[in-house]
């Protein structure tokens, strides 16, 4: 009989091995997707622009309403909390600075990333997982179509194009939400709010947020597609893959955000 300690150590070992393997799989997927994007043309298997555009509409354009709504609410919420906190110091005039920096550096990329992960991460995993169990992935391979080139590469390109754009849109809308509240609460005209905001913001702040969104784009794409490809057991497997890709996607985004912010603020 195995004693509890040995089996615990064995379990930890297995789990770690599995995690390492999974990270390795994601890394390989990323390298291969970039390979096809850059060199597919020379291998007679280009990544089609039409496919990239189709994905860009799916993951980017269609996400505009929800990201806009969330950003507006977050901007307004930041204004409410900011004024409330700063009032204790009698410094509510500084609220513009607080909103501008936290929106561009933190909230816009995070909100955009989380919402796209929730919307598209699950959809990607479900689509590829379903193709896996109905043998459509095998059908692609026997036709001579590399599944990474055909399914992952266009998606990665679309994410890398649209997520930064969505983040900038989110910047503007969140600032608008903040400005609207300040106009009511502090009688601060919207024009002045934006003037002051653009005065304090330097290009670095916006770039900081946009850089994060590139990382989030990679995370969402890899986790969604990898979970899809690894589906093996029927409809239940597809369900698990979608849940997993949303949960892991969101966690991945938050952890990456923390690490990135830590490294960049030193």
């Amino acid at each position: 009989m195995p004693d509890p300690l040995t089996s615990f150590v064995a379990l930890v070992g297995q789990r770690s091995l599995q995690a390492v393997r999974e990270v390795g799989y994601h890394a390989a997927l990323l390298v291969e997707a970039f390979y096809w994007l850059l060199f597919g043309r020379w291998r007679r298997q280009p990544v089609r622009l039409s496919a990239v555009f189709k994905e860009a509409v799916g993951v980017g354009v269609n996400a505009i309403p929800i990201v806009a709504l969330a950003s507006f609410a977050v901007g307004m919420m930041l204004a409410i909390q900011g004024i409330y906190t700063l009032r204790t110091f009698g410094a509510e005039g500084q609220v513009v600075l607080g909103i501008s920096l936290s929106v561009t550096r933190e909230f816009a990329p995070l909100i955009t990333g989380i919402f796209v992960a929730g919307r598209s991460g699950s959809a990607i995993a479900a689509r590829i997982g379903t193709m896996q169990i109905s043998q459509e992935i095998d059908a692609l391979r026997v036709i001579g179509i590399n599944p990474v080139r055909y399914l992952v590469a266009p998606l990665l390109a679309a994410m890398l194009l649209t997520l930064p754009a969505l983040t900038i849109l989110s910047d503007l809308i969140a600032l608008f939400g903040g400005a609207l509240y300040c106009a009511g609460e502090l009688s601060l005209p919207m024009g002045i709010f934006f003037d002051r905001s653009f005065e304090v913001l330097v290009a670095d702040d916006v770039i900081h947020g946009v850089l994060k969104s590139f990382i989030f784009a990679v995370i969402i794409t890899l986790i969604g597609t990898a979970n899809g490809f690894n589906v093996s057991a029927g409809a239940e497997g597809v369900g698990q893959a979608t849940t997993r890709s949303v949960v892991l996607g969101c966690i991945g985004i938050i952890l990456a955000d923390m690490v990135f912010t830590f490294l960049m603020s030193r």
Partner: protein, 266 residues
């Protein structure tokens, strides 16, 4: 038999799923222009053998030559070229659910040729004509019946006029009339296009009707690979029981039985 007449030449193929040996020492050959039926009970390894013939898995050992090229040694580019000469109809059809029937059939042309839209459309309609699906090109796969899906998959498999055609379980899940029609179609394809056709099936009737030669698989080994007449006349016990549909009742080896029951229990 001249080696250059061989469309398929499998030598000593051994394969595993994980640590479990699935195919053991498989060797068989198929000549150009003949219909080779791979027959065997459920779980005998037919689909596994087919997946290896399609180059979807790397075998543990052994060689698989298709049209004179050993696919276990082939470079990715050479395999890509070889795939233009291979067509596959999967058991469940594996039609791409996001595309119409017509787009499904056109896909191999789109990937492998530089034909213009109209030519591709005409060629795909010609193949749909062959499988009696003319006029259905604008339907989605979900709008087709089981028999129609298999025929559409067949149209996609032959759209490049491949020299090798693989067909997994053409009659599974179909009523006798529809499955007889599919058998008819397979014979027509062989005669009209001189294709080498590999059909995997567990249906005896269909096997005897279409086969030039039959390879009988049983628990991962080949029982025999010979002409229809020879298989019918075989006095091998397992083949006879397959032909007469008698259940297997081999004597149990007590040691193996104990080993199976206690395996992987510490």
């Amino acid at each position: 038999m001249n080696a250059s007449d061989l469309a398929i030449d499998v030598k000593n193929l051994v394969t595993h799923y994980g640590t479990r040996k699935i195919l053991d020492g498989i060797s068989f050959q198929a000549r150009q222009g003949e219909i080779m039926v791979i027959m065997g009970g459920s779980g005998s390894g037919k689909s596994t053998l087919l997946r290896h013939l399609l180059g979807l898995h790397q075998p543990t050992s052994g060689s698989i030559s298709l049209l004179g090229k050993d696919i276990t040694q082939l470079s990715a580019d050479a395999m890509y070229d070889l795939r233009k000469n291979m067509g596959v109809a999967f058991q469940g059809g594996a039609l791409f659910n996001s595309m119409t029937v017509g787009e499904n059939v056109e896909l191999p042309l789109r990937e492998h040729t530089r034909l213009d839209e109209n030519t591709m459309r005409i060629m795909s309609r010609m193949k749909l004509e062959v499988v009696h699906l003319a006029g259905f090109e604008n339907l989605m796969p979900s709008e087709l019946s089981g028999g129609m899906i298999k025929r559409a998959a067949l149209a996609r498999a032959i759209v490049m006029d491949p020299r090798l055609l693989f067909f997994d379980e053409p009659s599974a899940g179909l009523d006798p009339v529809v499955s007889a029609e599919l058998d008819e179609l397979i014979l027509i394809l062989r005669d009209a296009m001189n294709m080498t056709i590999v059909v995997v099936t567990h249906e005896l009737e269909s096997a005897f009707k279409i086969a030039d030669r039959i390879t009988v698989l049983d628990q991962g080994r080949i029982l025999m690979s010979d002409t229809v007449a020879a298989v019918r006349a075989s006095d091998n016990e397992r083949i006879q029981s397959l032909l007469n549909r008698t259940p297997r009742n081999e004597a149990i080896n007590p040691d193996e039985y104990m080993e199976r029951l206690t395996r992987e229990i510490f």
